[in-house]
């Protein structure tokens, strides 16, 4: 049965959920991804996303040990994401040197903690679905969370568009014009932290950063401004997601990895074409 036939099969609601998750995620990948790309904070977003594994591991451990029974992993992920974003934000704003060392340390410590907690969790806990996502497990609750986050991100992008654009283009000038650039930066990091957690069901925490940069990076070659980059980035994400889902369904492959591979292949092809054109 093809992916598109399965979509209309009443006995397979998870396929429709997967498609809806793809559509809703595309908006975040396009809009937030454009901001992450032009602000050049993909490395920071990567550190947050990887630190999240520590929270997932801790939540699984506490729930399995009966210390906090029924604690969902997403709560642990959210707590770790926000703590990581706060530390990274403060270090980026205050540290005069070795900022990258601290950020990489958080990246590594978060992942290591996650692996240790999962190893010590009684019963079977598979880190693979958290690391690489499993879109067929997307629940209605996940979809609602994604929709709420989409709405918040679209509103903030509209309301603070000129401030975002100015602080990404020339932060010092934006500050001179009265834009609270540090607050803008911390809000972006906070939203990215929450988005990473919500999006990890789709592509997993390892690859979420790829989807926050590749569609937006490809869109940057064609867009005339940040708004255009957001729209084109969302459109490309949607195409990559549907294509990735269909291919992974047809070939029985992990969907997150296929989506990222499609996005990566298109980005590299367009980049190579552009470079050749310029040379």
């Amino acid at each position: 049965m093809s992916f598109f036939v399965a979509l209309f099969d009443p006995s397979m609601p998870f396929v429709r959920n997967a498609l809806l998750a793809g559509v809703l995620s595309s908006i975040l990948f396009g809009v937030l991804g454009s901001v992450v790309t032009v602000k050049r904070i993909a490395g920071l977003a990567g550190a947050i996303s990887h630190a999240v594994l520590g929270g997932i591991g801790l939540a699984l451990f506490l729930a399995a040990k009966g210390i906090l029974p029924g604690l969902p992993p997403i709560v642990g992920a959210l707590v770790f994401a926000i703590i990581a974003a706060a530390i990274i934000g403060l270090v980026s704003l205050k540290a005069k040197q070795r900022e990258d060392t601290v950020i990489n340390a958080l990246w590594a410590i978060g992942m290591s903690m996650g692996i240790l907690f999962i190893a010590k969790t009684p019963g079977y806990a598979d880190p693979m679905s958290y690391l690489f996502g499993n879109i067929l497990l997307v629940s209605l609750g996940d979809l609602i969370l994604l929709a709420v986050l989409d709405t918040i991100v679209i509103f903030l992008a509209w309301r603070g568009y000129f401030q975002l654009e100015a602080s990404a283009f020339d932060e010092e000038f934006a500050r001179i014009r009265g834009v609270p650039t540090d607050v803008v930066f911390l809000i972006i990091l906070g939203i990215t932290a929450v988005a990473v957690v919500v999006l990890q069901t789709f592509v997993g925490i390892v690859m979420v950063i790829a989807m926050l940069t590749l569609p937006a990076g490809t869109a940057g070659y064609f867009a005339k401004n940040l708004g255009g980059m957001m729209v084109i980035g969302s459109g490309l994400s949607l195409v990559f997601s549907i294509l990735g889902l269909a291919v992974s369904w047809a070939l029985d492959l992990p969907s997150g990895a296929v989506v990222v591979l499609v996005a990566g292949a298109v980005f590299l092809t367009v980049s190579a074409f552009r470079m050749r054109h310029k040379a």
Partner: protein, 283 residues
Amino acid sequence: MDNHPTIAVEFYKVNYFYSNLEVLTESSFHVHKGEFVALIGSNGSGKTTILRLIMGLARPDSGKVLIFGESPEKARGLVGYVPQYMNYDPAFPISVEEVVKMGRLEGLSRNCDSKRSLNASCPELETALELADVADLRYRPYKALSGGQRRRVMVARALASAPELLILDEPTANMDSESEERLFRVLGNLKQSTTILIATHDTAFVSSLTDVVLCVGQREGKLGGVLRHAAKPADHIPAGLYGGSALQVLHDTDLPDECCGSGLTMQDDRAVHTDQSAPGRKA
């Protein structure tokens, strides 16, 4: 300390340290409204620190900085700034018009002026594009411009807020002579209506538009002083090298800070003006 309304910039006994390094020591100087000022000094002398203090991006360790009689933070709306360089991402998709619009930003507002949104155009934006000679480039991608064109776009962005004080940090760095001439033509059109302060590392010559030369740096073993120097026409310098004709800075002729106005700070081959009622005096 004089809070006379005709004074655009006033530094009074300003001390500034960067870590333990003394950058400015007991620096006092002032600039009058409408003056064209060259702030000269070698690299690392403290010029950019002075600019950052004027824009309220840094605070003095002691002493006072007043911009149009107000604190630099309060006076930010009156200041337009053209940075020396920008940590610019060449892949950033943005048009010239959008860059210039940034000059109309005010905090979290989405408005260009009291009537119009930043999504639309507004008269100040049109004026800035015209004044900086970039109106024909408005829809071009910023990344597609030459270095000289980008610098004029930065001037337009600074002018978009209709500033009373325009600050340019090394405006002609890496510019060809044609672009330099065009930029100084733009600045010449703004002279009188706008106070202009140019920071440059060229300590020997300045543009002939200059009314006042302020020299920053080491003097008699003392770091971080700001001195007013005389200047005279430099006829032997080929026209165009300094965006037009040039003045030679006379580092051996200090002028007291109380000596104000173009007629008092410039020296020609005949004499140094010392008469307080000399023509050109602005305050």
